[in-house]
């Protein structure tokens, strides 16, 4: 196992409540997973994961809450559904991964701060205007994440093609939308 955890005391680290929570919230039964590895084989992001998907499923089965919620993998998942479509046990694996993100956020584990920042800026933009204001969102995210220089080479091209609008579109129902965001998210 990665992260130097090569000895595991099965009972000590088994968090039953965590397993139940994942199963309830994702409506999936992780005990159905028999570790064939098809999710890992099909996942475009396996190269970048700290734990491949099949190991995430195994860690849930073993109730390893901290390892699972602290993993980088759950933040990199692109929700492309290849794992879900091909799972021979008919587990909606992508949904399990999505559920783990929500639980990680709720429990204060966020391995990928940038993704969290981007998501926050995104919803802020939605609350302000009712729609996403792309130029504003990108600028705000780049500033907050300290990654101003990445992707800079794309900017001139976008400006030349007139693909970035500098005036946000404010919709009439933006207060209504902001209320929805406020009511159903813990972020803002």
């Amino acid at each position: 196992m990665k992260n130097g955890q090569n000895v595991l005391r099965i009972q000590e680290h088994h968090d039953c409540a965590f397993v139940r929570r994942v199963e309830q919230q994702s409506h999936q039964k992780v005990s159905q997973c028999y570790q064939c590895g098809n999710c890992t084989a099909s996942c475009a992001f396996t190269d970048d994961y700290d734990f491949p998907v099949n190991q995430i499923m195994r860690l849930i089965q073993l109730g390893r809450k901290e390892t699972v919620l602290g993993s980088r993998a759950i933040w990199l998942c692109g929700q492309c559904q290849a794992c879900t479509v091909r799972c021979p046990c008919t587990i909606d694996v992508a949904r399990v991964m999505g559920t783990l993100r929500v639980l990680a956020l709720e429990n204060g584990y966020v391995a990928d701060k940038n993704l969290r920042r981007f998501a926050d800026e995104f919803l802020r933009s939605v609350s302000l205007f009712g729609r996403v204001f792309e130029a504003g969102l990108l600028a705000a995210y780049k500033l907050r994440s300290g990654t101003v220089l990445s992707d800079m080479e794309l900017a001139p091209e976008l400006l030349k093609k007139g693909k970035l609008s500098f005036v946000p579109h404010r919709i009439g129902g933006r207060r209504e939308v902001a209320a929805l965001v406020k009511r159903f998210s813990s972020a803002l």
């Binding site: 064939c36 590895g37 084989a41 099909s42 021979p88």
Partner: protein, 652 residues
């Protein structure tokens, strides 16, 4: 009536959650019950003895045994009461195990329910009447449906014992799947060398009648006396005349048709003998490929046939066979891998099935036994085998293990390394299932001696890249995604019930499990029986099986038939329907619902028509009983009176 009640503890099986003593005590309050007791194991020798003693001591006229399911031990207790001088139909069982103790934990509620079931059984036995079956002669012929290795074994064993055997095969030749195999695991002996002589035996035995290219159309009758209607399909060649010389195959101008025997690899003429060792070795015309049938012109085969055997006007015809027992050995089919779009079978010619690879390996196969890629005929350097394609996969509705594929792959990888010592073989597997004798050792040989690389993980995708294929899978032991470049990919497709198995089960009145395999009489103790007396199973039609298990079942089914035929007559079951003529209004509804054709018209002297039950044909299903508007049809041992008495007791 004097009734005795025996409540079984079944060790702790029943007594664990039912107060059996209280049930016995409560039963004494039911009318006519003069004796009630609990027993530790009622089905045991002392248990049966207790019943017999009580019948004599207490002069019992009816017996209720509250124990397990009647499917388990009704016959045991019927025999026991018979020994004590009672008619066997004066026994009733109350199922307080499967229906009570095994399904509920609440002891008080269980005890109450058990007592209710006992009271109902008492109410019924009070109205039971002695019934007597009659003896009818047996037809000592057996029909075997399916001419694969299991059916061949069953047919030969029965024939060796002197029985007349009717062997029915859907395809134009017997041999089944085994005839297509190159070698067999774990001994690597040649499949056709060991099957061939058995096929020849079938042809040579005078007491085996072989109907090839024939299907079962319908069945009537019961154990000892079945009537089977067969449909012999038009093969457009008179097989009595055909000598199997093969001249027609040479001259047929329509040559490029998919060769079914070679799994679509290679081509076959429209008129053909399936393979050189076919039994019967007779030609048949594939109508969809024949020029005469599509254009009305050609007739080359007819003109050149030295014995004038070709008959374009041939039609299907019916044949009726009378037999006393039937062995079903319809085998299996292989899963169609097109369901896995991500593997590209059908789109990419070098993604093939294990059965196709079997034909490639075979010296009589499409490439003469040289391993080549279907796409360009090149020898493959890297061969990837993929296990569990259509096995253990709920997403394609095949949740079960096919049992044989692990061994098939190990064998094929070994053979590939034998044929092409330079080739590298890779196997993607989930678990290796090799529990047979010398099986696991065989798989280890593939790894250790033949250098086959086993990779623990499923394959996600197969795609072409240039001339080769990329197999994208996982190595779960490493926790990595892996890619293997391959020239040829072999998919070990799973075992599924033979096409048409469900329809055949309906015709034969046998049952199939959720996956479509035929149901055995008992999962442990009646592996080759069905729930229909006189019909037996052999081979993969009952579930995935390898050759030794199929052969063993073929012999076992034959032994069952021989035991049945060891007597000269058979007792009919008196639990049949009968018509009360005075009540019958002659509406004919019972005739139309009877699935067995067991009811016919009878004309009385005054000319009025009444329904009449043929007792030897009736299966006692009760449809007529339920349908009859004036309730003139009654089912013996399940009369309306008896059932209503049970309900009244329950509702009282």
């Amino acid at each position: 009536m004097r009734i005795g009640v025996f409540v079984c503890r079944c060790g702790t099986n029943i007594a664990g959650t039912v107060d059996t003593q209280a049930v016995a005590a409560g039963a004494l309050a039911s009318p006519d019950v003069v004796y009630a007791t609990e027993l530790l194991y009622t089905c045991s020798e002392p248990g049966q003895q207790e019943i017999q003693n009580a019948v004599l001591t207490h002069r019992l006229q009816g017996v209720v045994v509250a124990a397990c399911s009647p499917r388990m031990h009704e016959l045991t207790f019927r025999r026991a009461v018979e020994k004590a001088g009672l008619n066997r139909y004066l026994l009733e069982m109350a199922n307080i195990r499967e229906h009570v103790s095994w399904i509920g934990q609440d002891k008080a509620a269980n005890t109450e329910k058990a007592l209710e079931l006992v009271r109902m059984a008492v109410a019924k036995v009070r109205r039971n009447e002695p019934l007597f079956g009659s003896q009818v002669p047996l037809t000592k012929r057996v029909m075997v449906i399916g001419g694969g290795v299991a059916g061949i074994q069953a047919a030969l064993d029965c024939a060796d014992a002197g029985l007349d055997v009717v062997l029915v095969e859907r395809e134009p030749t017997i041999g089944g799947k085994m005839a297509k195999l190159d070698k067999t695991f774990p001994t690597i002996d040649c499949s056709s060398c060991i099957l061939g002589p058995k096929m020849v035996d079938v042809a040579q035995k005078e007491n085996i009648t072989l109907h090839a290219a024939t299907e079962v159309e319908s069945l009537s009758g019961t154990i000892g006396n079945f009537t089977v209607t067969l449909r012999k399909k038009a093969v457009y060649v008179d097989w009595d005349a055909c000598t199997g010389c093969g001249l027609c195959m040479e001259k047929c101008p329509s040559k490029k048709n998919p060769d079914g025997f070679n799994e679509g690899l290679g081509a076959a003429p429209a008129i053909r003998i399936p393979f050189p060792q076919a039994i019967p070795k007779k030609a048949h015309i594939d109508r969809s490929a024949c020029r005469y049938f599509s254009t009305g012109k050609c007739r080359v085969c007819q003109k050149i046939c030295p014995v004038g055997a070709v008959r374009f006007d041939m039609e299907d015809r019916q044949v009726v066979e009378h037999v006393g027992a039937i062995i079903v050995a319809t085998g299996y089919d292989l899963f169609d891998p097109a369901a896995y779009g991500e593997y590209g079978a059908g789109r990419y010619p070098d993604v093939i099935t294990a059965m196709q690879f079997e034909r490639i390996l075979s010296a009589s196969g499409p490439y003469g036994g040289h391993i080549r890629r279907p796409s360009d005929g090149r020898e493959p350097r890297d061969i990837v085998f993929v296990a569990c394609v259509g096995s253990r996969d709920k997403s394609v509705n095949r949740p079960y293990c096919s049992g044989v594929c692990c061994m098939v792959i190990a064998k094929q990888a070994i053979l590939a390394r034998d044929h092409l010592p330079e080739a590298r073989c890779y196997v993607f597997y989930m678990d290796i299932r090799a529990p047979g004798k010398n099986y696991d050792e065989f798989v280890r040989r593939a790894v250790e001696e033949y250098g086959v690389q086993y990779i623990r993980g499923r394959v996600g995708k197969i795609y072409p890249k240039g001339e080769r294929l990329v197999v994208q899978g996982a190595d779960t032991l490493l926790g990595a995604r892996v890619e293997v470049d391959a020239d040829l990919v072999v998919l070990a497709t799973g075992v599924e019930p033979s096409r048409g198995a469900r329809e055949l089960a309906e015709k034969l009145h046998i049952s199939a499990d959720t996956n479509g395999f035929f149901m055995e009489g008992h999962p442990k103790l009646k592996p080759v029986e069905t729930n229909t007396a006189g019909i037996y199973l052999a081979g993969a039609c009952q579930g995935p099986k390898d050759i030794p298990a199929s052969v063993a079942q073929g012999s076992a089914a034959a032994a069952k038939v021989l035991a049945l035929f060891a007597r000269d007559s058979i007792a009919t079951d008196p639990q049949t329907a009968h018509v009360m003529e005075k009540v019958c209004i002659g509406c004919g509804k019972c005739l139309s619902v009877c699935p067995f054709g067991a009811i016919q018209w009878k004309t009385l002297r005054d000319g009025t028509k009444k329904a009449q039950v043929l007792e030897t044909v009736c299966q006692g299903c009760g449809l007529c009983n339920a349908t009859c508007p004036p309730k003139a049809v009654q089912l013996n041992h399940f009369t309306d009176d008896q059932i209503l008495a049970q309900l009244e007791t329950l509702c009282a």
